[in-house]
């Protein structure tokens, strides 16, 4: 007989607020007049996220003393790591949405006026002329955030799968909504969807196998069952590897990383920032819980998987990032490399590993959102002075530091934090995960990690050098643009032969179809409306403060890093 589970609304509040707000957000789309819709949606979204954050804060003390509770019949766990991860996701989401909402001085946001229109069609032109705005992005972001809040809290495999889909589907959509280079964007969306579906299928298959082994979907039951030997070990092992594969896909670990560069590049830049930061936090949260509460009994068998993936991720991410020439792809591969660094902390399998991973995720998220925020503001301007899309080719960033020292300095700061240079938060994060790994006996991983970081520092610093030191012809930003600056001589940045897309003369194709890049463009920095500037500033300040005085946050995380079994 079916008995309705007892619903502990108080502990569900952070999730419930966001998902409810998402549903209301859809209704707002229908009933609020177009003129004020964006303002209302933005305010409502931020309020919902802030409310959810307050709910997390309200639960904090209770969970810290009790150690956590299971809700919804054991399907969700609200314990220390859950709350830390939810708080991290919410804070990062709020900052990321500030970037999403910024229309810059051009008055155009990052999204196609009508995402359903065929690129290059009359419909698109009309929507553009009417100045339509796709404000559905806000409810979509809320749905995705809601899924992310559930993901690390799940304590049974089915909820895990549902949360995965709830967080992924809106992201597939958002990826395809870019205002410029729409084909690239739609293609990225399609790829993300297909590969995501593939990964989900693998995971479902794994869930089925594990269920076949243990006849339960609950983490606690499976963990108990693993303790007692049976002759179905193969079923369990293969099933666990498949589930891990699904989770590793989401964090972007090798060999499940192939989607990352394409999706990061194709998605609207502010969405990339949101996705790169928040998805990674949620996915690592789920991965941590799975590794720490379900399969510790299989440590000896599964270490080979985790070690192989970790090393491959760090090495592949770092090495390929070195030869990229597109800023968004550099950041994408760097995010792959960072997934590897974070995995070293996951493999450590002790309390220090958990807290260091949680800290790392937060600081990585901050730097990521900030970095993509800056990318969003660095644009191309054509011969008529019209502002186009993001100037993502590395050569276009040459000399930006001279003209826009503050923006470039904050970008440099984010890169240095990625590189793990002392006095940035990234250093403390890296130090934490590596020493956790070394402590847990995984010192080879820590060693590879250190070597990979050293290599990674090379391309981060190369960009810093490019921004501040590279030779660049004097370009009058407001005056008439100098010719052929697209082929800026930045011998430092452009490896011969790896160049992917230098300026192609505009063909007969419609503007939005392809590269909107005429032969001569100059790089310009558009003024933010204020929101993105605030977001970048927040990220920069936090990156420095957490680098110099990490103790309060480390302390906070420290006491909340025990999983409820």
């Amino acid at each position: 007989m079916f008995t309705a589970p007892h619903v502990d609304w108080a502990h569900l509040a952070p999730v419930a607020i966001v998902l409810l707000a998402a549903v209301i957000g859809v209704l707002l789309e229908a009933f609020v007049p177009a003129r004020v819709r964006r303002t209302v949606q933005l305010a409502f979204t931020l309020a919902a996220l802030a409310g959810s954050l307050v709910a997390v804060a309200a639960l904090w003390h209770g969970v810290r003393t009790s150690g956590g509770v299971k809700v919804l019949g054991g399907s969700l766990v609200v314990d220390g790591p859950t709350l830390v991860l939810q708080a991290t996701i919410l804070v990062l989401a709020i900052i990321a949405i500030l970037v999403v909402a910024d229309r810059t001085e051009t008055g155009e946001d990052a999204f196609a006026p009508s995402a359903a229109s065929v690129p290059g069609s009359d419909h698109e032109a009309l929507a553009r002329r009417l100045g339509l705005q796709q404000t559905e992005v806000y409810p979509l972001l809320l749905f995705a955030t809601g899924g992310m809040l559930v993901f690390p809290a799940t304590a049974d495999l089915l909820t895990l799968f549902v949360a995965l889909e709830v967080l992924s589907l809106p992201l597939y959509l958002l990826t395809g909504m870019a205002r410029r280079r729409r084909l690239l964007s739609q293609e990225a969306s399609m790829k993300y969807f297909l590969l995501g579906a593939f990964a989900s299928a693998l995971m479902l298959f794994g869930i089925a196998l594990v269920y076949g082994y243990s006849s339960s979907l609950h983490y606690a039951d499976i963990a108990t069952k693993i303790g007692s030997p049976t002759d179905l070990d193969t079923l369990l092992l293969v099933g666990s590897v498949l589930i891990l594969a699904g989770l590793l896909f989401k964090v972007g670990a090798v060999p499940f990383h192939a989607w990352t560069p394409d999706v990061y590049q194709g998605a609207p830049t502010p969405i990339t920032g949101f996705m790169a930061a928040c998805t990674k936090v949620a996915a690592f949260g789920a991965l941590l819980r799975f590794v720490y509460t379900v399969i510790p009994g299989l440590k000896w068998d599964l270490d080979v998987v985790l070690w192989t993936v970790t090393i491959a991720t760090m090495v592949v991410g770092t090495v390929i990032a070195m030869v990229q020439t597109d800023m968004k792809r550099v950041l994408a591969y760097s995010s792959v490399a960072h997934a590897g660094f974070i995995l070293t902390g996951v493999v450590a399998l002790d309390a220090q590993g958990v807290s260091s991973v949680l800290f790392y995720l937060f600081v990585y998220g901050l730097a990521t959102i900030g970095a993509f925020g800056v990318v969003w503001l660095v644009r191309e301007r054509d011969a008529d002075g019209l502002v186009l899309g993001e100037a993502t080719h590395l050569s276009q960033w040459a000399g930006i530091g001279r003209r826009h020292p503050w923006l470039a300095a904050s970008f440099a700061l984010f890169l240095l934090s990625f590189a793990g240079i002392p006095l940035t938060a990234g250093f403390i994060g890296k130090f934490g995960v590596f020493s956790a790994a070394a402590d847990g006996g995984a010192w080879p991983l820590a060693l590879v990690g250190v070597l990979a970081s050293a290599g990674a520092a090379f391309f981060y610093v190369r960009i810093v050098v490019l921004m501040f030191f590279a030779d660049v012809p004097e370009v009058e930003e407001s005056g008439e643009p100098a010719a052929s600056t697209a082929s800026v001589s930045a011998d430092d940045a452009v490896e011969p032969g790896t160049d992917v897309e230098l300026a192609t003369p505009q063909g007969a194709a419609v503007a939005t179809l392809v590269e909107e890049r005429p032969a001569t463009t100059v790089t310009t920095v558009v003024r933010s409306e204020g929101l993105a500037a605030v977001a970048i500033g927040l990220c920069a300040v936090a990156t420095v403060v957490l680098g110099v005085f990490p103790t309060p946050v480390l302390d906070l995380v420290q006491h909340m890093s025990t999983f409820l079994p």
Binding site: L195, V241, V304, A438, V450, E495
Partner: protein
Amino acid sequence: MHTLMTWAASAPTMLPISEISSGAQPVRGGIYAVAPLLVGLPLASAAILLLAGRRSDRWGHWLGVLASTGAFVVGLLTFLAILGRDASERVLDVHLGTWIDAGAFHLDAGMRLDPLSLTFVLLVTFVGTLIHVYSVAYMDHDRDRRRFFAYLNLFVAAMLVLVLADSYLLLFVGWEGVGLASYLLIGFWNHRTPYAVAAKKAFVANRIGDIGLVVALGLMFSTFGGVDFSTVLGADMSGVSTATLTGIGLMLLLAACGKSAQFPLQSWLGDAMAGPTPVSALIHAATMVTAGVYLIVRSSAIFDAAPTAQLVVVVVGAITLLFGAIVGCAKDDIKKALAASTMSQIGYMVLAAGLGPVGYAFAIFHLVTHGFFKAGMFLGAGSVMHGMDDQVDMRRFGGLARYMKITYLTFMAGWLAILGIPPFSGYWSKDKIIEAAFIPTDGHTWRAWVFGMVALLGAGITAFYMSRLFFMTFEGEKRWSTKADGSAQHPHESPALMTWPMIILAVGSVALGAFLGLGNRFVDWLAPVTGSHEEGDPVLAAPVLVGLTLLVVVVGAVIAWRRYAISTVPVTPPVGTALTRAARVDLYQDVVNDALLVEPGQHLTRTLVYADKAVVDGAAVGVGQSSVGLGRLLRKTQTGFVRSYAATMLLGLVVLVVAVLVTQS
């Protein structure tokens, strides 16, 4: 050690090694409360100069000088306060607060004030301040002078963090800061490509060194459970396996090699001359390159327990010493010749540091005297360039003694000091190192002979190339006529702001060695850190060694005199012997680096680039070409590549599953 020097009276207060306390005494209040200003003043000044921007152009450089002077005054007061304490109570720790508290890992931030760190503080701030003053005039015409001073301040602040840190992690912060500041300064005139390349080279070599330090940090943490000096250096080394200690020692040595330009990471130093000359003076004399020596001496407890690592240190020092000296003989660029000499002199210090307790104090002693005479000579070289329209080719100098008297005399003081002519500074420190190298360690007489002879030979070569440099620049007939633009060359003396720092440094080059060396003042002062102990006897009697050294030096100098002062020096370099040609290109170090490191790396990246382009970037290329046809694009990207991504995933998964099943226990 019975040397000619011990005739000076005052029996040193000997501390047995066992009494050296690695556990520092905590102090607070009084003068120690303002000690953080040592770092704070230059750091604040750097921040102000960078943030205020062009608004501070008019007064910015004076703020920089003021901050550096302030740091020196604070350092001096701290020094006097510590001097007032008993020798056994001179190792102090100023606690600044909890830095990181993450479960098993707890680390406080604090400052270690002891004779070793204060020696560095005084050297860095004093020589640094003089270089600041000099730069006010030297950089007068540069529109970015304010930014230059901000970087100089940053450099000084980072170096002070490095030497004042009370843990390896905080030291690492300073270590990176020094790297960053040097990178900014070497590339200061980055509008010319070779300069940017030089900055990059320095950066890469330093990163390789940094890996060593990071790995050492990890090893220390897993071995001792902490990375602060008290925990690591105060630990009972007998309980730790020698292999681990050797590993830590070698990693620290790697770090030191990167920072101090020791073999095999020496190649960046010569190229780093691209920066403005005061930067070279700062890097070579007071900061940066001395950091490696500091690291080794600071970690003496580890090296003492790891004889193999110690031997490697000595070998590295010996190789670099000869390497730098040989390269120095062939360079015609005055700054590059001086750079080679720095490399060689730091080689002496590293060699001394590797000799163990016998050499620590002498390594630091030589570091201090070298700091004075090398800074003086670099500033002198800058003054020559200033008067000669930025000419650096010594074959275009000659006979300048008449035109720039002060530069000539101050440079001469530095020259005599580096040669080790008594009673100039270098004699007191370098001779001690040579003598220490001749003392057998652990009864290995052959080692004493090998390293002693290398050190002795190095002294002779040093005498030759430094005299060559000196004679080619100041003596002989004049070989300059016109400037680059064709107008007549008028060598002139530099303004007072530049000459006074040179004069002060020259006084140091003349007298500092005797002041510190007489009565073993300096060795005793360092004793609470380095310890003092019974030393063995050198394989040759000390007076014989002193005589031999002087003889070798005089021979080297006389050869140089005959070839470069009284005979005509060709303006275009002659072809030269095979050795000369090799030395001109730094003994092929770039070729070797390319063959061993760069090319395999490039092949690896090329392969990966190909894979990346074929598999991953295909889509992007497709988009770029899509003006040709939308249909083909869609077909190409959407079916082809997603399939290959999925295939990658599947293949990877299969590999992982198979791996699990195969290794299943």
